[in-house]
Amino acid sequence: MKQKDIEQIIHDDHTGMSLIVKTVARMMIAVIILFAFYIILYGHLTPGGGFAGGVILAIAYTLMMLAFSRKMALHKFSDFWASFWDNIGMLAFIILGFLGLNSGYFLYNFIWHGKPFHLVSAGIIPLANIAIGVKVGACLYAIFIGLSIYGRLIIKEEE
């Protein structure tokens, strides 16, 4: 999809939602993604963590799909890559668990723990949070793609 097509989707009243929604969504999506990263990265210090941050990450792309169109969202983040990152997140978490075996226990917190209440602290917990965040974000988005496929087929039948 070229830049011209993207411009057309943004200004076309018939694809996606109204211009007001589109304008607000354009501004908000980046902020939502940034907030998701904050929740994931500060998971070991503040409430939230990998799962909550991942859900917020998925919401950003879901908002893109609702406001603009399915085509637009899949252009930015396709179902293949959603599934790919889903697997990568899970793989990263399992590998973290296996690395702990090196120090004696499965899932052992083998990295230097650092000073409490600092961003770089708590050993493998931030890494595990990042892995879960990637996994949950990609996975929930992939589920939404799956649901949107079925929605389209039903509309076709009714016509």
Binding site: F80, S83, F84, N87, I88, M90, L91, I94, I95, G97, F98, G100, L101, G104, Y105, F106, L107, Y108, N109
Partner: protein
């Protein structure tokens, strides 16, 4: 401190499931290679652990009751062996059977994920961890039931999904009540708390929730409605896994573990389990008698045979529990054999209707022999394995003065024989249908798996004494000894 094989039995299948999906994006045969290797590794672990000392493994190095703990005792050993043995044979069978399906890698990934969940349930010593692994196994199985994505499969999968989720919710409520009362979700810690307190209605309510949840997963009668739809709809290797081990690993095993090891077997719950078992045995077999769909008939027999297991558990005597565990082991062998041979018959003839088969004895000798072995085992004909476990359950019932249960068990055994005589008459004997003139024996891999399972059915029957003495009697004694379980987990 038990061996590192405990977490690896869960970790390696999880890793393999992800690798199948990742590599499967580029190479479509990744699953067919990885799945049998993974299940072989976990099977080797399970066999190796049979001889290991009982012990615990602290996940992440956190001691119980604070961290998650994996527990290996003689009951877990039995279940671990059953689960991984059937999983290995079913995955080898699947390599040949699943050729006609699309998206094979997703099938193998879900299959391995289900195995990881079951191994986790069997090994864990933590109530909430048990719930998480149970959900992993259940959700994978919901997807596998609907794997054919035809109308019938999707309907069965959705029904299973809804009922299974209700059961899981009940379990969560039960765990929440236990946590509220005891302040711990570690099974041994809860057991220590429960054993020192007077009878408590809230704990009994929690136990009733567990009975509901695990009873539904095990397919006992008031909760059996999903089973006859779900088990036949899945592809044959999955049917074998669902009927052969899933209903035991996430249904009967946690029920036994929680009733005996955690709650110390209150009489009222044991009686409930006993009578649920009696009703399941009778209702299951009567519903099975009228069926002409070969896999549906076998699914109803799973309900009936789980009734036997529940009778043995409900008796509460060492012999009863040992016999129930033995019957569980045998049922895993012969029911997976029956479902796999039904899968062979189905993929050869293209139908599951018994009335359209007939005379297949000449065309498919190995599959026929396997079907006959499985039928005789489940019907309880000596010297096959089903006979000895059923006999032991009946003897245990008589010794515990539960004459009604003993009579029902004997009567149901007769009806099972009648039902499987019907299977053999319609499918193997009689005149061959003309359209099956060109029929061939199933592929080599499938035939090998069927042969191995048949030999195991006969072998376990012939050497039942050895198996009872070395595996099942110690397991029953461990289950009845609550104090030993507590001291092993908390003290070790």
């Amino acid at each position: 401190m038990a061996s590192v094989m405990l977490p690896l039995s869960v970790g390696i299948p999880l890793l393999s499931a992800v690798l199948i999906l990742l590599i499967g994006k580029a190479w479509r045969n990744a699953g067919a290679l990885f799945a049998p290797i993974t299940t072989l590794i976990t099977l080797v672990f399970a066999i190796d652990l049979l001889g290991a000392d009982a012990g615990t493994y602290w996940m992440g190095g956190w001691p119980p009751p604070f961290g998650i703990v994996l527990v290996l005792d003689s009951v877990s050993k039995v279940l671990l062996l059953v689960v991984n043995m059937v999983a290995f044979l079913a995955s080898v069978y699947a390599v040949s059977y699943m050729q006609k399906y699309t998206a094979q890698n997703k099938f193998y990934a879900l299959f391995i994920l289900m195995l990881a969940g079951m191994n986790g349930v069997v090994l864990t010593g933590d109530l909430f961890n048990l719930y998480v692994f149970l959900e992993i196994a259940s959700i994978a199985s919901y997807a596998l039931v609907g794997f054919g994505v035809e109308h019938e499969e999707l309907e069965a999968g959705f029904k299973y999904l809804v009922l299974g989720t209700i059961a899981s919710t009940m379990l969560l409520v039960g765990i929440a009540i236990v946590y509220n009362l005891t302040g711990s979700v570690n099974m041994a810690d809860v057991a220590r708390f429960v054993s020192g307190m007077p009878p408590n209605k809230a704990l009994l309510f929690a136990l009733a929730m567990f009975l509901f949840g695990f009873g539904l997963k095990a397919g006992l009668v008031p909760f059996h409605a999903w089973l006859p739809d779900a088990h036949p709809s899945a592809p044959a290797p999955v049917s074998a896994m669902l009927s052969g081990v899933l209903i035991k690993a996430i249904g009967v095993y946690p029920l036994i573990r929680i009733t005996y090891s955690v709650f110390g077997a209150p009489n009222i719950i044991l009686n409930l389990i006993l009578w649920l078992g009696v009703i399941s045995a009778v209702v299951g077999v009567f519903l099975a008698l009228g069926q002409y769909d070969i896999k549906r008939l076998m699914a109803y027999h799973s309900v009936s045979q789980m009734g036997y297991v529940a009778i043995g558990i409900g008796l509460g005597t060492p012999l009863g529990i040992a016999a129930a565990l033995f019957h569980m082991f045998n049922h895993a062998l012969f029911k997976s054999l029956l479902f796999l041979s039904a899968g062979s018959l189905e993929s050869a003839t293209g139908t599951r209707d018994l009335r359209q088969m007939g005379g297949l004895k000449k065309k498919m000798p190995i599959t026929s022999l396997a079907t006959a072995t499985g039928s005789l085992s489940i019907a309880g004909v000596p010297p096959f394995n089903g006979f000895f476990s059923k006999l032991l359950i009946i003897i245990a019932a008589i010794m515990a003065k539960q004459y009604v249960a003993a009579g029902v068990a004997a009567f149901v055994s007769l009806l099972t024989l009648a039902s499987f005589t019907k299977v053999m008459k319609y499918s193997l004997l009689g005149k061959l249908n003309e359209k099956y003139e060109r029929l061939k024996e199933s592929p080599v891999l499938m035939a090998i798996v069927l042969t191995i399972l048949s030999v195991l059915c006969l072998g376990v029957g012939l050497f039942y004494n050895y198996f009872m003495d070395s595996i099942f009697n110690p397991a029953a004694n461990d289950l009845l000894n609550q104090a030993k379980y507590i001291s092993m987990v908390i003290g070790g």
